[in-house]
């Protein structure tokens, strides 16, 4: 693009004019910041101020703009200029709101402001306005793996929105477990009776939908590529394999019931008359509204006991630790099968906590009205025999009881078909990385068979379910353009699976649409920048390919990293990982930050004016500091805060540069890592902490105290704590003295 022409604009509003010497700041921008156009304005964000900038862009050819005013989080509408590189020197939240308005403070406050202007100019000088990644594909067909209620719903909903769908089901029929049900838990008022599954209707709908192509008896033997340009091999039982091109993937591979044979003490596998919920559905379908007969001798069931949480909510570690959520409603529904065909059948549900959230409460009441008996108790044993004996502790009457039954139903819960556990090798980030890739061979068969360097399937979270940030952004997986839904993501009933599948369809469509425009997906949606690397400089150390939280980077046949831009989430973790610093984005690179660090004016060691570099995650730590400023919470005037996309993008060279340049301390602020991670790029913060755990050697090498560098987890709510951390560093420096590295 054309030569860089920097325009620097200093605002005098919000007290900046009173508190700061803006003329001096303009000189700084001009002399040191090399800004060709420099202006100040009484009130930069109002229409006149903005118009002034626009004029310079149009008439003066300004293409790089420095806004020396408020935080980059404020006034985004006013300062959003198209096709122009913009940097923000945060003089309001970053300086005057966190410094006392006193004569003594005037000098260092001004120095602080001047540094931010220098930094703004330095940053913008290294920035380019990004243009969309040219290698993107624009295939918008949606692949759905799994033909159960979730997969079928995703297929129909995506098609309704006008998108072509490929539906792959490993069995010979669509419908999955819900298709095997006699009836479903009701989803409408009065929530009183079981309702039709509706599956036959859905199958018809799919068969007659020209946008939906169905593969039965088929599995995915290979998935490669990226959003907008996936290529998958579909292997049929018959032996044949076809290759299809698609834009995005929905993994709806569902669940298997927990094997009741693992529960012999509850009669699992010991008696044909002890069945799981799926087994009971079979019997109910066979009876089809008439009296249900038991497997052993075909005798009409006169008494049935439902054992809740069978092998679930288990604390021994032998069975499932979680609750499958739907089983209480399901047992209620199944008890109704009996009561509806013959009110004189004794149906007892033995539970510890009856879990019927929402309108399930109506369903529960309805069952009681129908005469189903609910007993709070813990079942210890089911004794096989012509009349099964269910031994349990009645927790209300606090005594041991026995219930005789013709049939016993164990509510055994759901086990996710989530493919192989690609992290099975071990939790801690593995820089050599080999292990992770091979770890693929796990207990289960792969569902997607991804050719990704980081493994064949989606990473798992807990209990074998797919990883997702399961509160704010439940759909976000660590494989861009691949979304999971239904019980593979979280145990759920059919109604929830339908909602979930509909949402997943949207995410898949969205991923394809964004990929086609070469734009990033969540959370930097719409970001056009993408990482590039200097092949000549690369040492093939593979750190980037291993550390990318999203498995976006593979290796080409020459063992060089192969960036799949459309899989990239633009967090910059690869950039932070690269020891030879060959990875960068147009508008965010080792230089855009590195030159900011260097631009800061570091006074000599006799000045008693230390410098503290604060690298703050822009998602949590930086906003926390902003809000501290809004609440006028002050922190050390020696701090220079640089927002980063993610702490994972922090390259240790920045710390080295800072220390050699004579900074006295460095503070890194990132999001919470670990199991309950809050890092918006999942592993970024974790990676940064891991790397920084090794920084001590560097420091010792420079014969500097290790206390000079601190890495910490900061939440967006740490409005008081974040400034405190900065001040603590200032105090530490007071104690150990200024850095000797100044010159």
């Amino acid at each position: 693009m054309a030569d860089i022409k920097i325009g620097a604009y200093v605002c005098k509003g919000c007290g900046l004019g009173e508190r700061l010497n803006t003329a001096q700041l303009m000189t700084v921008a001009q002399r040191e910041g090399k800004a060709q156009v420099v202006r100040e304005h009484e009130f930069l964000c109002n229409s006149a101020g903005v118009a002034m900038i626009r004029q310079d862009i149009e008439n003066e050819g300004v293409n790089h703009v420095v806004i020396a005013a408020c935080s980059r989080r404020a006034k985004t509408d006013a300062f959003g200029f198209e096709n122009v590189a913009v940097s923000r020197a945060n003089l309001r939240e970053g300086v005057i709101w966190v410094q006392p308005d006193t004569e003594e403070a005037k000098e260092i406050t001004q120095e602080m402001a001047a540094d931010y202007v220098r930094m703004g100019c330095a940053e913008v000088a290294k920035m380019q306005t990004p243009v969309a990644n040219p290698t993107h594909g624009n295939n918008k067909r949606i692949l759905i793996v799994g033909g159960g209620i979730s997969g079928m719903t995703s297929a129909i909903e995506a098609s309704k929105a006008g998108y072509d769908v490929l539906l792959v089901e490993k069995s010979g029929v669509l419908g999955g477990w819900v298709g095997k049900l006699y009836r479903r838990i009701p989803s409408h008022e009065p929530f009183a009776d079981p309702m039709e599954t509706g599956v036959p209707g859905l199958i018809k709908q799919i068969e007659s939908d020209k946008r939906i192509k169905v593969y039965l008896n088929s599995t995915i033997s290979r998935t490669s590529g990226a959003p907008g340009q996936f290529s998958v091999d579909i292997s049929m039982e018959s032996g044949g394999t076809t290759t299809e091109n698609i834009g995005a993937v929905i993994m709806a591979s569902g669940f298997e019931p927990y094997d009741l044979k693992k529960l012999p003490e509850l009669g699992g596998g010991k008696s044909p008359d002890v069945v799981d919920q799926a087994g009971l559905e079979q019997l109910a379908r066979a009876a089809n509204g008439a009296a249900i007969k038991r497997p052993s001798d075909g005798k009409e069931v006169k008494s049935v006991v439902f054992v809740q949480c069978a092998g679930q909510r288990d604390e021994s570690g032998k069975h499932l630790a979680y609750c499958s959520g739907h089983c209480c409603n399901t047992s209620i529904k199944q008890a109704m099968y009996f009561k509806d065909s013959n009110p004189n059948v004794d149906a007892v549900v033995v539970y510890t906590d009856l879990r019927t959230p929402g309108n399930g409460e109506d369903f529960y009441r309805s069952a009681q009205r129908k005469g189903v008996i609910f007993t709070k108790g813990k079942v210890s044993e089911v004794v096989p025999g012509a009349a099964l004996q269910v031994k349990f502790k009645d927790l209300i009457l606090n005594d041991d009881a026995v219930a005789n039954a013709d049939l016993v139903v164990l509510a055994t819960g759901m086990v996710a078909n989530s493919g192989v556990d690609i992290d099975a090798a071990g939790g801690a980030p593995n820089v050599e990385g080999q292990a992770q890739a091979e770890a693929g061979v796990g207990k289960q068969v792969s569902v997607l068979n991804l050719t990704y360097r980081q493994g064949k399937d989606l990473p798992l979270l807990k209990n074998g379910f797919n990883d997702s940030h399961f509160i704010c952004f439940p759909y976000e997986t660590r494989r861009t353009g691949i979304y999971s839904c239904g019980p593979v993501r979280r145990p759920m009933d059919a109604q929830q699976a339908i909602e979930d599948a509909t949402g997943a369809a949207l995410k898949a469509i969205q991923a394809a649409e964004n990929a086609a425009l070469g734009r990033a997906a969540h959370p930097r949606s719409g970001d056009l920048s993408y990482p590039t690397f200097r092949r000549e400089g690369c040492t093939q150390c593979k750190r980037c390919t291993v550390e990318c939280p999203f498995g976006a980077i593979d290796e080409d046949e020459e063992r060089y990293p192969q960036f799949n831009e459309s899989r990239c989430r633009r967090c910059g973790t690869c950039m932070g990982a690269c020891p030879v610093r060959v990875i960068s984005f147009e508008n965010y690179s080792v230089d855009t930050v590195g030159y900011q660090v260097k631009a800061v004016d570091v006074p000599d060691q006799f000045s008693e004016k230390p410098r503290i570099l604060v690298l703050a995650c822009e998602n949590d730590a930086y906003p926390a500091l902003d809000m501290a400023a809004m609440n006028r919470i002050q922190y050390s005037a020696f701090a220079r805060v640089v927002p980063v996309r993610c702490l994972g993008s922090v390259n240790t060279i920045w710390i080295n540069d800072a220390l050699t340049a004579g900074y006295d301390g460095v503070v890194l602020m990132g999001c919470q890592k670990g199991e309950n991670y809050q890092c918006h790029f999942v592993r970024g913060s974790e990676m940064a902490h891991y790397r920084m755990s090794k920084i001590d050697d560097t420091l010792k090498g420079m014969s500097l105290e290790v206390e000079r560098v601190r890495t910490c987890e900061v939440a967006i709510t740490d409005i008081q704590r974040a400034p405190k951390i900065i001040n603590e560093m200032a105090e530490t420096i007071q104690k150990i003295g200024l850095s000797p590295m100044k010159f």
């Binding site: 009441r365 009681q368 009205r369 008996i373 007993t375 009645d394 209300i396 009457l397 009881a401």
Partner: protein, 207 residues
């Protein structure tokens, strides 16, 4: 009466819940309890209940027939209706307790010496005799429930109260000779006889 008890045991075998649903006032609500215990906690006489209502409901479902019907608990009900207005499942608990007590009483297995049972009997005889309460006879009857000497003792205890009532014109000594009588007393007798007859028929008590 205990004949009737045998009949019922035979008829319902181990299904006490069905027996209750069929024979106890509002009994078909028992199955709707979700064991939250708000009734048990709300009863002013709660601490005196061996088995509070919610537990009784569970015992009924668990088939503990004798433990329930022979219990003193239901007789502790003061008819304050606290449980009813607080029950999240809208069970008419007060009435169920009354119903259970009445049922046990009719089966002749309610605790013989339970004072409330005996007072209730006395009270009903008192009001049905003439159609209205005869307070004096009622209280005197009450005192002599456990024999003459006891009666005198109780009577003396209560004398101040009685005297106070008498002085303030709220107790009528002549009531001993009558009073509390409706003109239609005979109709009432016939009516009640009929009512009982119908109820027995309905609940299979007629033996």
């Amino acid at each position: 009466m205990s004949e009737l008890n045998k009949v019922m045991v035979e008829k319902y075998r181990n299904d006490f819940l069905k027996e209750v649903e069929a024979n106890v006032e509002e009994g078909d609500w028992v199955k709707m309890c979700m064991q939250c215990g708000v009734c048990s906690g709300s009863c002013p006489f709660g601490p005196y209940w061996e088995h509070p209502p919610q537990e009784i409901f569970m015992m009924i479902r668990a088939g503990k027939r004798d433990d329930v019907l022979k219990s003193e608990s239901m007789w502790m009900c003061t008819s304050c209706y606290n449980c009813i207005v607080r029950c999240p499942r809208e069970l008419p608990i007060t009435h169920i307790m009354h119903g259970l007590a009445n049922y046990a009483h009719r089966l002749g297995i309610a605790p013989k010496m339970n004072p409330t049972r005996r007072f209730a009997k006395l009270f009903w005889q008192n009001i049905t005799k003439g159609g209205r309460v005869n307070e004096l006879k009622l209280s005197i009857g009450l005192y002599f429930m456990d024999g003459f000497s006891n009666g005198i003792k109780k009577g003396l205890e209560m004398l101040p109260v009685g005297l106070g009532m008498f002085k303030t014109g709220r107790l009528n000594p002549f009531a001993l000779l009558g009073g509390g009588k409706c003109k239609g007393a005979d109709d009432i007798h016939k009516m009640l006889k009929k009512a009982k007859e119908i109820e027995n028929r309905r609940k299979g008590f007629a033996s």
